[in-house]
């Protein structure tokens, strides 16, 4: 069996393929409907992780690998989680010193890009 490598019903590939499109479309909609705040945050990460999971599990066949490999590949990135988590805390801290001591604006308003300006101008006319 294993001599034939990773052989799986083609159906499942098509299913995942389709799911990836659907999920990408959903995350696109999140932006299109201008969802904001925690909901946006949650949805984006949710769709992202789902897609990533499908790619790794099905397309990269991780699902069918023996756990020895899965374990070997998936545990080391835990270190990255620690890094990410700590960096998030620290960045916030650094940012707060900039606001408190350096007089930086805590909530600056973004400028609109050039073509966007043109658009709105057009509409105003």
């Amino acid at each position: 069996m294993a001599t034939e490598g990773q052989q799986h019903p083609i159906k499942i590939y098509f299913l995942i393929w389709l799911l990836l499109f659907v999920l990408s479309f959903f995350s696109y909609l999140v932006d299109f409907y201008h969802l904001e705040g925690n909901l946006r945050w949650f949805l984006i990460v949710f769709f992202m992780l789902l897609k990533a999971g499908f790619i790794v599990a099905i397309f990269m066949h991780m699902k069918w690998e023996r756990f020895a490999l899965i374990f070997g590949i998936l545990t080391p990135p835990l270190a990255l989680v620690v890094l990410m988590f700590l960096m998030a805390i620290e960045s916030d801290y650094a940012w707060s010193t900039r606001v408190v001591y350096m007089g930086e604006d805590p909530a600056p308003k973004p400028e609109r890009p050039a073509h966007y300006k043109k658009e709105s101008e057009k509409k105003d006319l």
Binding site: M1, V82, L83, L86, A94
Partner: protein, 579 residues
């Protein structure tokens, strides 16, 4: 029961070249590549050694006319190149490139690395990185003088020597080195995991291979952080991006940066940097374990614990990085986390030390040259390790950080111990590699000079740290914290360093001389058990094993088994049927 049949046993496609160049230059034989790595690393290490002697002369005799050419710029360029070469281009390259290449296939009973061509490329790319690094000395402005830690903004602001091109060659060379390392490292890991010979389970592997295995793995996941920070720094320098660069007024003029975060670099650097120190420590641990066991004619004590300690150290080393940043102004609460994880690492490391020493108990110790180096390693590592405990405890690090205490710590634990392990390993494996013994007397003299000499250099240096002498000072000048006695101590240290440096000539002489004139080595001069001593020929041919791969029946430490005739039983000897 459904079973899976393991696919056909893969074999290394051995490429037997006909020409001399193909055999010895663009060779795909792991042993030749090991030698190439070793020679290059030693050559570049020699450069670093000479730099260190100049540094020492400057520190001890600041006003001396002979040293007049050695300006502050030169000094900072020297420490940077010295530190970087020693850590990356000498130690990492030697322990993994040379020992890794030599030991892994032989000790795993493989014919070669799994992808010999990639392995060869790895060396040539490494050589390229060394050349780029050396070009530093010929570009306008010279090499960078930012310290081996390359902390921004300093690395790319005008107040630092070598900001024009030196920093670029340094960063590019590092990136190239990482590519080389990745190619080699993937090979070592895959060979260890997938190409062991029959009967060789992971728990029967010699500790050397374990050390190299975990170190390489650490390298593969730690070097990316350095790679990323090097890329970002290059962009900061040449494209004027502001990743690490906040708004800065440098020497009176405003630079066109804003909003960057210098601490990000430090985190990335040490996310790489701390694992890196274990990358150079773990193979050394492994080598020492084997040397002690073989030459003490006794099994290594607590093998299982030794393996788990290596794994635990490797895993923990990924989450202690910010102990280098206690005074860097990071988030204050991180101190608790990192001090705790750092000191936790001390426990598995301490166990390793205990086990080495316990191996000596009721052993039958042959005081050979490799054994001398191994014993010295243990002592210097204890000193370096416990000074690490001082530094790891965050509050003690506050007064000691950036003083000579730190310099003493890392030289003891990195500049002396793994160097001793390398020497020990060379004395141990040279016979297998060349078929000749190294000269014993020269070896002993070299050992005593090196061990006592380096101890004399670094032990007193801790105390300079206590009185507050900061590191990276071109000269201290007249200062109240710096008594005359300290100046004298510095002179003493420098003289010791000169003696140690010169005594290395003995070693080089020994290497060259014995290659041609040394005693012919028997196949297994030390009476060791691991597979490399079981090759049909000494030195082993390309492909290592004639027509059949060896079969392993036992661990590598069956020394002094009661009831046996000989005090050592090679791994290939089948076990007696349990009666």
């Amino acid at each position: 029961m459904a079973t899976v049949e393991v696919p056909y046993q893969e074999t290394v496609p051995l490429h037997h070249p006909k020409t001399w160049i193909g055999k010895y230059i663009f060779s795909q034989d792991h042993k030749i590549i090991a030698v190439q790595y070793g020679i290059t690393a030693m050559a570049v290490g020699l450069v670093a050694l000479i730099l260190s002697e100049f540094m020492r002369l400057q520190i001890a005799f600041p006003g001396w006319e002979f040293m007049n050419f050695f300006t502050a710029d030169h000094y900072y360029q020297a420490i940077t190149m010295h530190g970087m070469i020693m850590v990356i281009y000498l130690l990492t390259a030697f322990l993994l490139g040379a020992f890794g290449n030599f030991c892994v296939p032989l000790m795993c009973g493989a014919r070669d690395m799994v992808f010999p061509f990639v392995n060869m490329l790895s060396y040539w790319v490494y050589l390229l990185s060394v050349i780029i690094l050396m070009i530093s000395y010929f570009v306008p402005g010279g090499p960078t003088g930012a310290g081996w830690t390359l902390y921004p903004p300093q690395t790319i602001t005008p107040g630092t020597p070598g900001v024009d091109w030196g920093i670029a060659t340094m960063l590019i060379s590092l990136a190239v080195f990482i590519v080389a390392f990745t190619m080699g490292g993937l090979n070592y890991i895959t060979t260890i995991l997938q190409a062991r010979t029959r009967g060789l389970t992971l728990m029967r592997m010699p500790l050397t291979v374990w050390g190299i295995f975990i170190a390489t793995f650490l390298g593969l996941i730690a070097f990316p952080a350095l790679f990323v920070s090097a890329v970002m720094m290059l962009l900061d320098k040449f494209l004027k991006t502001s990743f690490f660069m906040p708004a800065i007024v440098s020497l009176g003029s405003k630079l066109e940066y804003s909003g960057g975060q210098p601490l990000l670099f430090q985190h990335l650097f040490w996310f790489f940097g701390h694992p890196e120190v274990y990358i150079v420590a773990l193979p050394a641990f492994g080598v020492i374990s084997d040397l002690i066991s073989v030459h003490a004619r006794k099994n290594i004590f607590g093998y299982r614990m030794m393996v788990w300690a290596i794994v635990a150290i490797g895993a923990l080393s990924l989450i202690v990085w910010a102990h280098h940043m206690y005074v860097a102004g990071m988030h204050p609460s991180f101190g608790f986390f990192f001090a705790t994880t750092t000191l936790i690492i001390a426990v598995p490391t301490a166990l390793k030390v205990y086990n080495w020493i316990l191996t000596l108990w009721r052993a039958n110790i042959r005081i050979t040259v490799p054994m001398l180096f191994a014993l010295a390693f243990v002592l210097t590592f204890i000193v370096g390790g416990i000074t690490g405990l001082f530094l790891g405890n965050v509050i003690i690090d506050i007064p000691l950080s950036d003083t000579y205490f730190v310099v003493a710590h890392f030289h003891m634990v990195m500049g002396v111990s793994p160097i001793l392990a390398i020497f020990g390993g060379i004395y141990h494996w040279y016979p297998k590699l060349t078929g000749r013994m190294l000269n014993d007397t020269i070896g002993r003299i070299h050992f005593y000079f090196t061990f006592i000499g380096t101890y004399a250099i670094y032990f007193p240096m801790h105390y300079l740290g206590f009185i507050g002498v900061p590191r990276r000072y071109y000269e201290t000048g007249i200062s109240e914290f710096y008594p005359v006695a300290a100046h004298n101590l510095n002179k003493f240290i420098t003289i010791a360093a000169l003696i140690v440096g010169v005594s290395q000539i003995l070693f080089i002489f020994n290497l060259v001389h014995s290659y041609f004139k040394g005693k012919k080595a028997p196949a297994n001069p030390w009476g060791a058990n691991s597979l490399e001593w079981c090759t049909p020929e000494t030195p082993p041919r390309h492909g290592n094993w004639e027509d059949r791969l060896p079969t392993v029946h036992r661990w590598a430490y069956d020394f002094g088994v009661p009831g046996e005739e000989k005090d050592h039983i090679p791994q290939t000897v089948p076990r007696r049927k349990a009666s």
